[in-house]
Amino acid sequence: MRLVLHSSFCWIVALLSVIGTTEAIAATVPSHPIVAGFERFFTASSTNLVKGGELLLSELRCVNCHDSGEHKERIPTLSGPLLDNLPTRLNFDYLVEWLSKPHASKPGTLMPHLLSGESEQAQKDDATALAFYLFSTSPFPASREAASGSLENGRRLYHSIGCVACHAPEEAFKPGEGSAESVPEQIKIASIPLGNLQRKYSHEGLVGFLLDPVKWHPDARMPRTPMSESEAADLALYLSGGNLGSGLPALLPDRIEKGRKRFAELSCAACHTVGGAGESIPALKAKPLAEINAEAAGCLSDSPPPRLPDYQLSPLQRQAIIAALKNLPQAKPLAAAQRVHRHMLALNCYACHARDGIGGPETGRAVYFQTSGADLEDEGRFPPPLTGVGRKLLPQAIKRIVQGEERIRPYMTTRMPDFGEHHAEQFAKTFSATDLTGTIKPTPRDGNEHLTGRSPWGRELIGTKGVGCIYCHDLNGNKSLGIRAVDLLHAPKRLHPEWFRDYLIDPASFKPGTRMPSFWPEGKAVHELVGKNTARQIDSLWVYLTELDQNRLPEGMEEKGNFELKPTNAPIVFRTFMKDAGLHAISVGFPEGVHIAFDSEQVRWALAWRGQFLDAEGTWDDRFAPLAEPLGTNVLQWPLGAEVGDERQFKGYRLDARGVPTFLYQADTWEVEDTVEPIAGNLRRTLTLRGGSPSKWLGLLSRHHGEKIETLDDRVWSAGAVQLRLVQPATARTAILQNNGSQHLIVSPEFDAQGEAKLVMEVRW
């Protein structure tokens, strides 16, 4: 076969394919077709194997050939992927390989082998002809786009945005550093196979697929996960190694015609439509479902006879399908709750969501569900359970959510995907029909308008003088005062008001394990407002949230304090986490407007600055304790390398009568007292040493990277912006030491009869 290579990027392809990662992703895939819902919930001992069989009859497209007649709703037909635009998307060689041996090419695929009875050569010829035909129906691309993107980011995305809820994670990938699951569990439920993406897709084709899988495969179970084009490129690069494609064939008309013929004979059209020319090829019809003998013969035999599709069914799958066929005469239309369950099985919603005690992330995959909202714990990581969701959410909200339009939990790293309008509309109906049953007491909203809540009451309740929702919940984009739970802004657009009321009264009965307390325990109001009327209080919150954009923020959020520390009469000593002074920082603010920070871990002066001192908000008010930074200007970073002694141990500090701290530490054999305080807009440092070897030298100033300490006179030195004057003792010997591109100003302390040495110096900058 003559291939025309369009690629002047051949070397890039070669380079990138080395790092193609599909193979790195744990790939012990069973050989039978993987239908996620079946894998997870059906075993040989299942009493409901009929349901599993019905799921397979639909998911494996059996009913595309075997008409399910009156059971269409139970066992719907599903299309296969569209075969449009293949030359742009796929590699020709892969397509031939795939059509000749789908199960070898992608173990676990749902596509049956249709050429199984033929000789090797015939298989290859047929597959090539089919591929020619399929490639002939769409235009060839002028050229293929070069791969671009970040492989590492693709890897991160793959393991965090939800891909691995269904697909296998890479074994070497270490998810969730610092998470509670330090010992991840084995994954037990078979993953949906990826196949060899590197051989299958062009980079452009894979990017296009990831951006909108539903476009290429309307009935696929792969939803559209919201992502940017550059994220899709990163993912594609990670998954396929950025393949440019194996080149495009020169199309031979007779082969194309043969392919078209085989396409019709093999009844490919039962599942696939061919795009491009918009051609319509009829599919053959097989025996209707109701007329099939429920036994291990035909497609259901161990090795199906030639010319029948070979699915490589597992014994359990065969058993389930036979059970479903046997049960068919008795099968009744599904009730709403069963429809919801079947629908969730088919779309594998259970991979992420639990409902009525089943499903939710399996233990081995839980670790890939992460949160950026520390403190929210499992409620921040795991997609919400869907038990009673139809009672909770308005139908129009369910529709928006299933279409991936409403991500109100930005802290969750997984992304709720878009399953398309058709599924969204169905879920909106079936969830509501199933869950909105029984008598639900109406809220005052309904017909008792004189009893409804009022926005000012709601404002009072939501704030710190009320029940204090904003301690934990964000509000209209404003940070909560503590943990960052879901923004309450969304409530009225999404929730049934009755659910809102009932949930507030008893959160745990709706969401077992939630840490939301009840502020109306047993329905009784604790707050005095509105005569302690629970219904009106809760309705007031509802009204306030509804009118949020026209209202003032609640108390506590509106009047966040000003936490600037202003030393006025005496120094302020303030310990905190501080940028460039470390996690053991002790900052000292002086009324003179010159401030310093001591690092009590390294036991060294770290910073000095002028102007405003510090803002304590990060330390006093922000739960997440961000690093403090000097508020002022002229920030001086004390040069490293001029600490006293090598081995230092911090001992604390003393305050003098004016409140100036003297830092105490052990440095080698010396006991050190170290005081820095302002003098005329600069700093004076006093060091007192006791009990050490008098002959030892002491570092005062350092400079690195070949830069020099300049001697200005015999008691004044400069190092960049810093000038140091040794005031006392006047007679001390000094020297400048050279060491590997660094310079150190050293001094020999003079000890008195009591074994005490005192050094005083001024630091200007």
Binding site: G178, S179, A180, E181, S182, V183, E185, T363, A366, A374, D375, E377, D378, E379, T464, V467, G468, C469, Y471, C472, L481, G482, I483, A508, P512, G513, R515, P517, F519, P521, K524, V526, H527, I572, V573, F574, R575, T576, F577, L583, H584, I586, S600, E601, A616, T619, W620, R623, F624, A625, L627, F650, K651, G652, Y653, R654, L655, D656, L664
Partner: protein, 483 residues
């Protein structure tokens, strides 16, 4: 009209319900001036009767007048400031001690002006990564003068990598040498001794802890939270890292598989006993605080209350029972301390999390009114059941009826998930009941006791000989060992 009537009924019922605890243990609110944000995080009674309080803002205030019957003239003196989130306070040998995020500090006023002028570092060096969750609690001094601290585990973003001993308890000797003792904590926000000097820490419901718990700190013990296992690789570690952590077992099964894992001495079932366990304080006041001598009082954050624990030692291990004690305080209980008159100071703040009540921080005092509530005073394990002791004689008819005793047992899952349901629940039947001649004891013979399980007892119908109902009708006994 009918609606109006039922409305009144509910108001009456509500009032009497709230009044009941208040009748026995009255809450007196200590006024706080507007300019002081008294988010109490530590309390220590000084020998002169003044109360020192540390707060989340790193200040130590010394309060005078807090024991007054109506404390309207309380004075506040700022003793120290600038500390890094001190979460404990203790007075010993003329100095106050507190644990800051990075060190144990000794504070002294050497010139008698009521301001600390000496902030000396007693011990430091445990891992601090800059992660917000790395709270450090303590100190509590034991009977030999050692200081005990506990360190939260790290959750979320870090700035530095040194997380040595996060999730461990530390013991600091009188010379300032410290060593790790036990590991596997998540957020052990309260430390306390029992009468015999055993050291206990409280634990929050969360990952690896399906409910709140009281844990006995002992050398070589693993309490259950996995992130502490990182420090098992350090030479000073006191137990060996388990090769793997079994998940999806019950905690009782897990304790059999992991040699170092010790079950909590007492579980505090989630919601039933509150939602967030804080301080631990032993009642060493004799009868000054009512009939619960030598029992532990335990702070409850979210529900703004105080709970009660009775411990006993069975086969060399502490285990015991918890009871609700007092709720409806003004804010989250974080610290507990005894006043010199045997009243209980409750230091409060709800920073970061919300709590029931009307304030975000403050200080209250619980005074025993002298009236004895009708309560289950103790619940003790027997080889074939339990022995209940009441504070007042029971009504024999109600006490003899087996329908009076609703008993079930359950345990919890051991897993990395946050929290977890009560699992393997079984109802138990009381086969035999024997009431002592003074009516103060009920001896129950129970079928189906299970070791390691929480045994939840409810007595909604129990009456005293004078017809009173129990003030709190539930008890939760953690039966680690059947005697």
């Amino acid at each position: 009209m009918k609606r109006l009537f039922s409305f009144f009924l509910s108001v009456v019922a509500t009032t009497s319900l709230f009044a009941a605890e208040e009748d026995y243990y009255k809450a007196v609110t200590i006024p706080v001036p507007d300019h002081i944000k008294l988010e109490v995080s530590g309390m220590a009674l000084l020998p002169d009767g003044r109360l020192a309080t540390a707060n989340r803002r790193g200040e130590i205030w010394i309060l005078d007048g807090v024991h007054d019957a109506t404390p309207t003239n309380v004075t506040y003196k700022l003793f120290a400031s600038g500390l890094h989130e001190p979460l404990g306070l203790a007075w010993r040998d003329g100095a106050l001690y507190t644990v800051q995020r990075t060190e144990l500090t000794r504070l002294r006023d050497t010139n008698r002006d009521d301001r600390a002028d000496e902030y000396l570092t007693v011990a430091k060096g445990w891992g601090v990564t800059g992660n917000y969750h790395e709270y450090a609690y303590g100190p509590v001094f034991d009977h030999s003068g050692n200081a005990w601290l506990t360190l939260n585990c790290t959750i979320g973003n870090t700035v530095r990598t040194n997380d040595a001993w996060r999730g461990w308890s530390l013991k600091v000797d009188t010379k300032g040498n410290w060593q790790p003792v036990s590991g596997g904590f998540r957020s052990p926000s309260g430390i306390g001794l029992n009468r015999e000097g055993g050291v206990f820490a409280s634990e929050q419901q969360g990952n690896w802890f399906a409910a709140g718990a009281l844990l006995h700190i002992q050398f070589g013990v693993f309490h259950g939270h996995a992130s502490a296992l990182k420090s098992c690789d350090l030479p000073q570690a006191t137990f060996k890292k388990p090769a793997s952590l079994p998940q999806n077992l019950t905690i009782v099964q897990a304790a059999r598989e992991i040699p170092a894992l010790e079950l909590p001495a007492v579980w505090l079932p989630y919601r039933k006993m509150g939602m967030s366990v804080t301080d631990v304080l032993c009642n060493t006041n004799g009868m000054k605080f009512g009939p619960f001598e030598d029992q532990l009082f335990i702070g409850e954050f979210t529900m703004s209350g105080v709970n009660r624990v009775f411990l006993e030692k069975i086969k060399g291990q502490y285990q015991g029972v918890c009871f609700p004690f007092r709720k409806d305080l003004q804010s989250a209980t974080v610290r507990l301390a005894w006043g010199h008159d045997g009243s209980l100071f409750v230091g409060q703040n709800n920073r970061g999390w919300n709590s029931l009540g009307t304030r975000s921080y403050g200080l209250q005092r619980l005074n025993w009114t002298g009236k004895t509530p009708f309560e289950i005073k103790t619940m003790q394990a027997q080889s074939d059941g339990f022995l209940l002791t009441f504070t007042k004689p029971v009504n024999r008819e109600s006490a003899q009826a087996s329908s009076t005793y609703e008993l079930q047992s359950y345990t919890y899952p051991y897993h990395a998930n946050y929290g977890g349901p009560e699992t393997d629940i079984q109802k138990l039947t009381v086969n035999q009941i024997k009431i002592s001649s003074d009516g103060l004891n009920a001896r129950l013979v129970v079928e189906g006791l299970r070791e390691g399980y929480v045994h939840e007892l409810r007595l909604p119908q129990m009456k005293s000989s004078t017809g009173e109902m129990l003030l709190h009708d539930s008890a939760f006994y953690t039966l680690n060992q059947i005697p």
